[in-house]
Amino acid sequence: MAVYEHGYKPYTGALTPEWSRFLIIPRHAYRDVFRSKFFVAFFALCFIYPLVAAILIYLHHNVNALSMLKIGDVRELIPINASFFYTFITSQCSLAFFLTLLIGPPLVSRDLANNALPLYLSRPFTRKEYVVGKMSVIVIMVSLITWVPGLLLFLLQAYLQGAGWFGSNLWMAGSIFLSAFVWIVALAILSLAVSALFKWRVVASGAMLAVFFIPSAFGEIINELFMTRSGHLISLGAIMNSIWLGLFGLFKRQTGSMQGSSNGRRIDIVFLEPPLWSSWLALGLFCAVCVLLIIRKVRAYEVVK
């Protein structure tokens, strides 16, 4: 029994398993997140594309429906293949970025601004659990609009097409999951690092946009100035696009060519994307920097040496 009218007494009841305690953070965070009507509207908007994609898959396998709706042959127009799922993942992952922009920045910054970290960390709750708990707020929410509907679409297609298609395209399910998950983890780490770095939500949101768009702009300037595609290595969007293309087996190094002249001679310029491994490496470095920032900033108290 507790303290009210009985004086101070210790708690003697059952305890929750330690491994599950990080989930307390997303449970309480969602109460706050879903209070925003704007967020709810945006979250609902994120399900429009999966719905449209499901209808397309259905139509793909229903000749009667196609003839009733007087639509041309959707099968030729929009084939259900790696490109279809790649397009689905890229568009949903773009929405995921904006969803993260709404829920990510205040996650740690609010705790830092209100000096709440000592309260979390003075309990049987480690820094790792705190970070994983905060990351899971983003991971769970963004998963619901990326790989979860992606895999459901894959299963719908497999159900309608038959076991043969499922068997020969199983790798695509792995690609759907992996391409979304890599992006989700990168987003979660980025938003936590930015959130840990700035105590004000608006500044943290601005910084997250800046991290995404400013290097991309610089990358494009480098590409134009030096007639190369190496500038993509500093653009998070371009890095992710290469990785997604690689995972869906659509990656091509040569993405264009043009003719130019040098010393009066006509030359062919071929634009080569950076190799796939370099995109993975750049993403790894980017995440490593963010993790270092998180390790440095997420502490009960900052120590001045």
């Binding site: 507790a2 303290v3 004086g7 101070y8 705790d111 209100n114 003075s122 120590v303 001045v304």
Partner: protein
């Protein structure tokens, strides 16, 4: 039974700065007061016990568990009320305290029940549905206390709990701390600049100075020992009187011709002094029980020298006679 806190050569350094050095001792009071001037290392000691800072030398044990090896299980036994404003924004107080209880491992429903009850206990029952950012300073302090006790810890660490409180709220806070102490269900460690708070709540004190232990004594025993310490002002055959009480086993010393300090041994009472004075026709003009206040102990510890340790050692003991 394991003592509350054992300090075993504990040292903490931030870079090249040594904040705590070679802290040794056993703290086993029901309420332990942590005293020291600014920068003495009080908060660093608390943070180190909670595992926020790693020990760079030695170790400490809380209820027998090593802070380096068992930080997480120690934190399950501890409730912490930080000095600074600490809360989670945009949350009602009951939601905040419930979250803290859940993080301590309580199931959601039990956490909610205890959150309500602990808020009633600290006197925030009527305000528990208000968001924390609308609370006054005193209410925030009480909310911090509620979150520190909601999971029923065995050790409650309170860092400056009466900071910024008006007199009635301070009294309420002191009353709550004493109530918890007297319940015997939890030990308390109270860090405060206010000697009065420590004196009212604590039965043991640890005084830190420049990161070292300047004094560690049991206030109750200290007070008991000081009851036997007496100052007399006399007229008459003072020397003869002193020799007579010396034969009873009293240690004594003259501070001037008319003033005598003495320590009564077991079995010797004040009435024996009056009897000897009457026999020798000595007038006892003044008789004072000399009792060290916490302020005396604190100031003496701040004056430097060897650490004051153990009962009786902190008073105007035999050494000064």
């Amino acid at each position: 039974m394991n003592p509350v806190i054992e300090l075993d050569g504990l040292g903490v350094a931030f870079g090249k700065r040594h904040i705590l050095q070679d802290l040794r001792g056993t703290l086993d009071g029901r309420a332990i007061g942590l005293l020291g001037p600014n920068g003495a290392g009080k908060t660093t000691l608390i943070h180190t016990l909670l595992g926020f800072h790693p020990a760079t030398a030695g170790t400490a044990r809380i209820f027998g568990q090593d802070i380096n090896a068992n930080a997480k299980s120690i934190r399950a036994l501890v409730g912490y009320m930080p000095e600074r404003d600490s809360f989670i924004a945009k949350m009602t107080c009951v939601h905040f305290v419930r979250l803290m209880a859940e993080l301590s491992g309580m199931p959601s429903e039990a956490a909610l029940e205890r959150a309500h009850e602990s808020l009633f206990y600290v006197g925030l029952g009527e305000a528990r549905y208000r968001t924390l950012d609308t609370y006054s300073l005193g209410m925030k302090q009480l909310a911090k206390l509620a979150q520190a006790i909601v999971h029923g810890p065995k050790l409650i660490i309170l860092d400056e709990p009466t900071n910024g409180l008006d007199p009635p709220t301070r009294l309420r806070m002191i009353r709550l701390i004493r109530e918890i102490r007297d319940s015997g269900e939890a030990r308390i460690m109270l860090s405060s600049h206010l000697l009065r708070d420590v004196e009212e709540c604590c039965d043991e004190i640890l005084v830190l100075k420049d990161g070292r232990i300047a004094a560690n004594c049991n206030l109750e025993e200290e007070r008991r020992a000081n009851r036997k310490f007496i100052e007399l002002e006399m007229r008459g055959d003072n020397r003869g009187f002193a020799e007579a009480v010396g034969r009873l086993g009293c240690e004594y010393a003259f501070t001037n011709e008319r003033r005598l300090k003495l320590v009564l041994p077991e079995g010797v009472e004040i009435r024996d002094l009056y009897r000897i004075a009457a026999e020798r026709e000595v007038q006892i003009r003044r008789l004072n029980y000399k009792r060290d206040s916490l302020e005396d102990i604190f100031l003496k510890a701040m004056e430097g020298g060897a650490p004051v340790a153990g009962a009786g050692g902190g008073g105007n003991g035999n050494g000064s006679l």
